[in-house]
Symmetry: C2
């Protein structure tokens, strides 16, 4: 649908964790990453939620890191037995996995001597040759290896880490977005909206129905890198909503 | 991690929609589907969020429907230009796409004559040979084709449709789950928890850290199809939490 010629920088988000697939935990990280990356000019083209299973992680990671400019993983980098992401990333890149001296130093500085345990220090075990990602909340760092950024699953910590490393990301032009809310059901606007979409191929127009208080309405979202076109298309959509609302009120 | 021999009935959830990937909308459907399917003895093994792009939908759908027992798609079956799911499903199955008489009859009964438009009636265009999925909220049905269930994206409507068709799904033994909350950081419990996991290979033990009021805690979730083993492992985890909490309180 998007046919403008701006540079598209693409990303995939990999959410690693059985707790999301069992329904126990609702993922909060995708929406943050998608929004924040979009502001940085990076478009999330795909997201996958996968199990804590090394074979699966390796296979999926190797597939998506070859396809997209960036990959962001969340989850599985803590100190417990089910935290297997770092080890699997090493396997995916076919590099040795072991103690990262810089990460080790950060943890040793943070923990009191009596709290230094093998399990805690295992958070400093990483693939060889990574660049650390600072963790301002709990210090255990994430890491970057080539185009893959390995982040924790706890939303608050993940978000702070992304803010701290945002300068490392090289985005294209951000996609601008304008929303128009209407109290019209999709069926009422579908025809005219399709015609507007045909007129503005450089603007991606999404139509999102909602159902509230037993009534249907539709949110229309226009997205484009072309600000002028986006403005024109938005005016057309606003005019359409205003005209159809009048008509709809008369007829219902 | 799960090594019990019960029959595993697997599923993939495909969330179709640019609005989720742009961050505009947070997905609410995966958590509902994962939870509800789990109750029915169906395990969601993977979820993917993909763009409104027919080539992508066809490729991904054909891959996952060959891999898993069931596939559930959400989104893209309304009357607007960006609702392309049904057409793409027909392409994936390589079957003709056209007016479904039964769906047409439902829509014609629902809409007043003046509200019958080409766009609304397009919601009755489906792949040939589908079984409809009733929509008790807004009547426009979803459909099932082989092991693929095509559902709308509006959470309230999707949920009601799943409840109505749950009897069609043939699940295995549901996975039982028990949560134990602790106010201990993961690092404190990692070693003992790993030992318990080793003792109970038929129980999947997940450790989920949280960060609240500037303190770390951990939720432990035990899952198994084996009720007796689950009970034993849970007792072991509870005892561990109680012992370590005492020790931790003394030391901090």
């Amino acid at each position: 649908m998007m046919t403008d010629q701006g540079k598209i920088v693409s990303a995939c988000v990999l959410i690693i964790g059985n707790e999301i697939l069992s329904g126990r935990t609702g993922d909060e990280n995708l929406q943050f990453l998608a929004t924040r990356l979009n502001e940085l000019g990076i478009q999330v083209m795909e997201a996958r939620v996968i199990r804590d299973d090394c074979d699966v992680i390796v296979e999926v990671l190797n597939s998506v890191r070859a396809t997209y400019d960036y990959v962001f993983t969340t989850g599985g980098i803590g100190p417990t037995h089910d935290d297997i992401t770092s080890k699997c990333v090493a396997r995916a890149f076919d590099v040795p996995f072991g103690r990262n001296a810089e990460a080790e130093a950060i943890l040793l500085k943070y923990y009191k001597a009596k709290d230094v345990t093998d399990e805690r220090m295992s958070m400093a075990d990483m693939p060889e040759g990574v660049t650390l990602i600072d963790n301002p909340v709990s210090l255990a760092p994430g890491f970057q290896i080539e185009n893959v950024f390995v982040l924790p699953g706890v939303p608050r910590i993940m978000r702070d880490m992304v803010e701290g490393m945002a300068h490392r990301l090289d985005g294209g032009d951000p996609v601008l977005s304008i929303s128009v809310t209407s109290e019209l059901p999709e069926g009422v606007i579908a025809k005219s909206l399709g015609q507007i979409q045909d007129r503005y191929p450089d603007v991606e127009i999404g139509s999102y129905p909602y159902f509230q208080d037993r009534k249907f309405g539709t949110n229309l979202v226009l997205r484009s890198r072309n600000e002028a076109m986006l403005g024109e298309a938005t005016n057309a959509v606003r005019q359409m909503v205003s005209e159809l609302s009048e008509e709809y009120a008369k007829n219902s």
